[in-house]
Symmetry: D3
Subunit: 229 residues, 6 copies
Amino acid sequence: MSGIVVRNIRRADTGVIAALERLGVATAHEAQGRTGLLQPYIRPLWRGARIAGSAVTALCHPGDNWMIHVAVEVVKPGDVLVVACSSECTDGAFGALLATSIRARGAKGVVLDFGCRDANELTQMAFPVWSRAISAKGTVKASVGSVNAPVVCAGAYVVPGDVVVADDDGVVIVPRLEAPTVAKAARAREEKETGTRARLENGELGLDIYDMRKALAEKGLRYLDGPVD
Amino acid sequence: MSGIVVRNIRRADTGVIAALERLGVATAHEAQGRTGLLQPYIRPLWRGARIAGSAVTALCHPGDNWMIHVAVEVVKPGDVLVVACSSECTDGAFGALLATSIRARGAKGVVLDFGCRDANELTQMAFPVWSRAISAKGTVKASVGSVNAPVVCAGAYVVPGDVVVADDDGVVIVPRLEAPTVAKAARAREEKETGTRARLENGELGLDIYDMRKALAEKGLRYLDGPVD
Amino acid sequence: MSGIVVRNIRRADTGVIAALERLGVATAHEAQGRTGLLQPYIRPLWRGARIAGSAVTALCHPGDNWMIHVAVEVVKPGDVLVVACSSECTDGAFGALLATSIRARGAKGVVLDFGCRDANELTQMAFPVWSRAISAKGTVKASVGSVNAPVVCAGAYVVPGDVVVADDDGVVIVPRLEAPTVAKAARAREEKETGTRARLENGELGLDIYDMRKALAEKGLRYLDGPVD
Amino acid sequence: MSGIVVRNIRRADTGVIAALERLGVATAHEAQGRTGLLQPYIRPLWRGARIAGSAVTALCHPGDNWMIHVAVEVVKPGDVLVVACSSECTDGAFGALLATSIRARGAKGVVLDFGCRDANELTQMAFPVWSRAISAKGTVKASVGSVNAPVVCAGAYVVPGDVVVADDDGVVIVPRLEAPTVAKAARAREEKETGTRARLENGELGLDIYDMRKALAEKGLRYLDGPVD
Amino acid sequence: MSGIVVRNIRRADTGVIAALERLGVATAHEAQGRTGLLQPYIRPLWRGARIAGSAVTALCHPGDNWMIHVAVEVVKPGDVLVVACSSECTDGAFGALLATSIRARGAKGVVLDFGCRDANELTQMAFPVWSRAISAKGTVKASVGSVNAPVVCAGAYVVPGDVVVADDDGVVIVPRLEAPTVAKAARAREEKETGTRARLENGELGLDIYDMRKALAEKGLRYLDGPVD
Amino acid sequence: MSGIVVRNIRRADTGVIAALERLGVATAHEAQGRTGLLQPYIRPLWRGARIAGSAVTALCHPGDNWMIHVAVEVVKPGDVLVVACSSECTDGAFGALLATSIRARGAKGVVLDFGCRDANELTQMAFPVWSRAISAKGTVKASVGSVNAPVVCAGAYVVPGDVVVADDDGVVIVPRLEAPTVAKAARAREEKETGTRARLENGELGLDIYDMRKALAEKGLRYLDGPVD
């Protein structure tokens, strides 16, 4: 589906998106069976942002950011732009002008399998960006790709309208139709962890809380008093 | 030109250097036709520095920082030391003592195709360093290289006296004789961007401001209303 | 020694550990003959921590953090957990719950040849973590490794009870029996550097302080007045 | 869709598969609009193999090859097994015993986002393998993944039954429903290239055959007679 | 133990070494509990060599191969030289002259955490070399390291006299005192695999031979008939 | 100098080029003071080629091979095309059609800081190619770069007309004006090595031939009889 722009997409429920935003990447990822993560080379430009939104996707080509300009027009308030590349590229495909523009259209942030630039200014704008590099290398506007076609971005499959959750731990994609279930499972996980945390703070061991001792012995783990020389 | 130290070099005009410092890496890089960038693996030790100065170059060998000691003597106030390596090396060739010394001689900062160390102290000194790694690994003083010979540093060709511009976006080299032209073009670019930014903040689209719609259609980009399943 | 947990290990003297903590990674590394460094891909999660402690070691398998849970039980106050992996893996083997637990048992920090997750929360807890990546990718508890057996972690050989020193420059291992000697040599080095620093601040040159000019000439280094065109 | 094995899948027409096998990766990739390639770190174990077949997919976890054993049962003669991993791993998940087994079931080859081992024996067997590494590192059978669920393998999205084409240039995925169209376009491309090749062999220039001179001039390319000093 | 050369080391029994050579890397690695492998970036210069011998170790510094010259003197017929580096370096530390020399002293091959050069000539000599790169970059003879001290080479801990096994799958270290046990276990593993291979060739499934079906069901693996759309 | 094609360049003497071709990369590199090497990630597509010729340079952009088509026209018999990229890219910028064309114009081979494709066919043509990857990924013809301007290719500075020497050890650039001196020094080095080789084959040690024992002792190297436990 190259050469196509899809103007309208289905989005997830805003309440579900808000819940996933609050729960964050690690919890959402666990809650959907440890799937959907972008590779860890995708890092936030600055620490402390946490966002979730509906994915608007763009497929660009190496050294070329033309489709980002096209994507800005179809972004709706609350969306997160996800930019894939047809091969590996660290060029600075996104900077302060595009951030100004896409923020004006309501986007909450951008995830790029490219580099970004204007790092200082983007940070001062507090505009959330996740990218594979910071690079001043400019890009051209010469090759047509797609907007709102499914893409593979940093190892994850992203369908437009999927929920993108991004924070200091990275980026996870929650498929739109599974988002309500995942949000529910994530909340349950969060509650359970709260209780566990209190016990761990008191010095109880995960070995006991999670009942691991028997399984470890069955796998053959042996204890020596030591020291061993 | 190994085994040579050149004591005196030609430098660019200080007004031009000051202009490039204010304009920054991304703008200068664009203004000189998207050339001269060091590869993006060169990163600032700490965020927020922006400097420009005349390049004093050193060519060292892997695991060896001897020529940095030699270079300190020929640095003049306002210069930026650019350290290349004859093959890939992340060892910590530059730390707090060298920073103390080269700052005392007037250098504004250092760019290294090596690692740096004493990261915490260098940051507290607010001494600007761009490097490929942070590594405590010490280096020897055993092999002679060169100072103020042309070098390739992180993929860029650097002639002594070229202008080095460095900030959070990375490092760009502006050839000395082209620096006035580049500074002028960069200022023009900056002014134009100021106007564009205001329009983008108001929600105008880059598609219209840059007049891209016709070219996109000619390249075959098609719009679908969607959603597509 | 897979499948083994050693409960008790010999530890270095607490005074020696305190001295190494104050002196830091770069100085300790130099003082022991430039050995014992973990590779520089191991980075602190947040800048500014400096710790030293006795190494408790865990050997895990890719995608599996079970042995960290086992290690928590044998950690003593002041220890540093060092987690090796039997092959390369960036999965998030350590997060906020494990940090809560191991801090409750007295550990000063954790060094991982894995990724960590809950980056934001770990930073707010000010719990010191050095890792090769930040990744939300969850791990399983399925394969038995070892606790308190010698390991290779990020290129360094670590025997349980060795002193781990970690700061913004990375991580260095000081063998337990050599720790007093290294601490002494590091203090001597520190004192000498203090004197050198004052001279460098006054503009004296390393070339003269370290008496390098004769050796450089013997190696054939030649000075040209320049400029060269 | 973790924890699922789908026994039966739809496959492409065998004539179409045979055509794509003959045409090879580069031609098929161009014919479908330069999409569907696995990243170039996936390399053949030995040079000279060229295969195409229907994708049977397996999703494994790092350090674990259990799902390959499960996949062997559902492979049909002529299929190609595509093994993805839930995070990056170079362990040797596939060796001579598995090759013996899957060849006995009729598979034509295997594509792995893992390492392979028994490199010498696999080569002597002339069993076609594409992998990201050669590594003797053994794997466990502890975690359940999936067989014949859609996967992302080395950056490409693979639906079971898609056509996998693999040769010395790498691996490309042709979606099942598009395979007849792609095969047709690839044949057309091949014919055209045959004619072009003859002209190029005679010394005609691509500049003229592809009529590039006008476009180059419009983009501002200028010719100097030279030499330039 | 820097600055030390140990002339004489204990070696493993030649019969045990011969057995491990015949069995190869993957089998030996499995037989000793999946430990001792060098990282897979260490590759053979040419395919088809398989050797085993007693490790003579050298620790060099980046860009410096002096200790290889020192090591040649202490090599005994049948040994394998293992060269570690104090930080990462791909320089060509070993070429045809050193190969001529060390072969004249009886060495069976060389393993380098460096690059090698004279690739064509080394291949024609059929001298077995495993290295991390091929690079013509020359090295100096300036810094003292060690010979026959324990080293970490490409992630594995190597004590002089340990058995080095190397083939197309990579390199594994078998500790000297464990070598007889490992060789015995490896032979047992080989015999068992011969039987398994015959059954797999007949189309029997690993699922049945290894009795995996029950464990898979317990872990929750479910089968669908499919196709799934 | 972007947007420029220089039709005519100065070339080195053909006798000098022939001498450097015979001597090969490692010897030429040593003879010119260990400079001029391309980074070792540039590898030959097939083993056994050794060429030298005058550099014709092209600067392309990521994902774009247009300037290769332009360069074909200005290549003269005996030249070697050197293709640089304005940022990192592994796309397959060169394949069998371009090889057919450039061979018809007399080029001896191609060096690419890109990927190549049609690997099997290029190998069967025995056309010499050095590249950073093999990738079927196609490229566009959209952005103008330069032909016969100086470039940085894989870390080496290349001026058109410099001598490119390439073999299994990689690629080295010998500046045109220095080529006669380098060829002479390389021949001297070769003769000396022939003598050394004979002595090494007889079991003499480099320690003695190169007279290293005194320098080693002065640097503090100590011999122990061993074994050490």
